[in-house]
Symmetry: C2
Subunit: 215 residues, 2 copies
DNA sequence: AGACTCAAGTTACCGCAGGTAACATCTTAG
DNA sequence: CTAAGATGTTACCTGCGGTAACTTGAGTCT
């Protein structure tokens, strides 16, 4: 039948696509995000035009690659967010999950968030970057905002508050995590605790230092 | 004398450098961060090699350009942070200063934070990105961390706490600002208030919504 | 069987970017 | 007057993303 035939072709194409993505993944993780289309094609054992037939352009390949990792990370975060526990525990679990993920696979993290760092000197970095590094942050922010709005009673402005907080908290997690990953100034648990303390209002509650007007 | 001669030459070189930077600024603000070295050279009325003699490579030009804007923004923020007022007022003033800055000059903002978005389709984006978008965030985080440590009494772990909070708060401001700038879901004042509320512990204080276990 | 279709795959090329070498020119010191 | 050294130029290299045009090979119709 026509349908079975088409299905066969589609399956074959899908498998191929997955193989290509895995090859691309290997190259990107090895060479950094500046990996060239030629390098990826070579790793996959084929040549450039095929990549272009499958993914359109470099951005398409990047997007497909990023989507896989982003989805995986979001799944982990959702799990932590949905665990049955007290609010503070959940927040800490979510923070820890995120930090554990970026700690475990910094190459993937750098690819998603800082897509133009690796690569040889003198060679133009590539990958259309930026346009795709935001999406992960945005998606995380949106997800968290929804969860907050669903579960918390925030009064009349709850919609706005929840969304702002979602993006804000995600940004906090991101920037602190990025800094921590680079400098490793403390343990993961300490970082989690410090951030949760911040969210729990310790900034407002802290006393002024003697002699100054206080922050 | 040798010294006066050198000084004269150095002054001339510095002036030239400033002129080139201003030309580069114009181009980047007009064409987006994908501006090519050729375009910048043309705008400055000269040719490429001169740019390379002055800035080494594209990254050098980018860095010089970014430093100017970054320093300017940091000065504004320091002013808001140092104003004589209560803590909450200062926090709100700082948030508002940042948001006002990115609102007033989104082109500059996008150049600093998402340096590879503009540019024609089909053309490889440029500017070595990423490596330089972090610095602004990092610098802001460090500055804020110092201020917090200087002024707040945070007990034994004050050093770590202050630094974590510095980076975390900056990240919150950044992500929320980025999202807000893109979607404009509310007024600036509302955003400032919502973020300050978050920092003031309203997340911990909020009640659970009826029917659920609460975030 | 033999012509037909359609996807996978190739080579060879284009345009354009970043970056450099080699040559010209003008100013200034000795 | 000459030598140095910065300023500027043209012309070129490399490597990238992306595409056109051709070849191959598996399966389909008659």
């Amino acid at each position: 039948m026509d349908t079975t035939q088409r299905t066969d072709q589609e399956r074959s194409a899908d498998r191929r696509r997955r193989e290509l993505l895995e090859a691309a993944d290997r190259v990107v993780l090895r060479d950094g995000p500046g990996a060239s289309m030629n390098a990826i094609a070579a790793e996959a054992g084929i040549t450039k035009p095929i990549l272009y037939r499958h993914f359109g352009d470099k951005g398409g390949l990047y997007a497909a690659l990023a989507k896989r990792h982003t989805d995986a990370l979001l799944d982990s975060l959702r799990a932590a967010l949905d665990a049955p526990a007290e609010r503070r525990e959940r927040v800490e679990a979510t923070l820890d999950t995120y930090l554990a993920a970026i700690e475990a696979r910094p190459q993937v993290y750098r690819f998603l968030m800082h897509p133009a760092e690796g690569g040889q000197p003198g060679v133009d970095q590539g990958f259309d970057v930026g346009k795709h590094s935001a999406p992960l942050l945005r998606r995380m922010g949106e997800e968290l905002g929804k969860v907050i709005e669903d579960r918390l009673d925030l009064g009349p402005d709850s919609h706005r508050l929840a969304r702002v907080w979602g993006h804000g908290i995600v940004g906090m997690m991101f920037a602190a995590g990025d800094w921590w990953l680079g400098e490793r100034p403390c343990t993961r648990a300490e970082l989690v605790r410090s951030l949760a303390d911040l969210l729990w209002g310790r900034l407002a509650a802290a006393g002024d230092k003697v002699g100054g007007p206080g922050f």
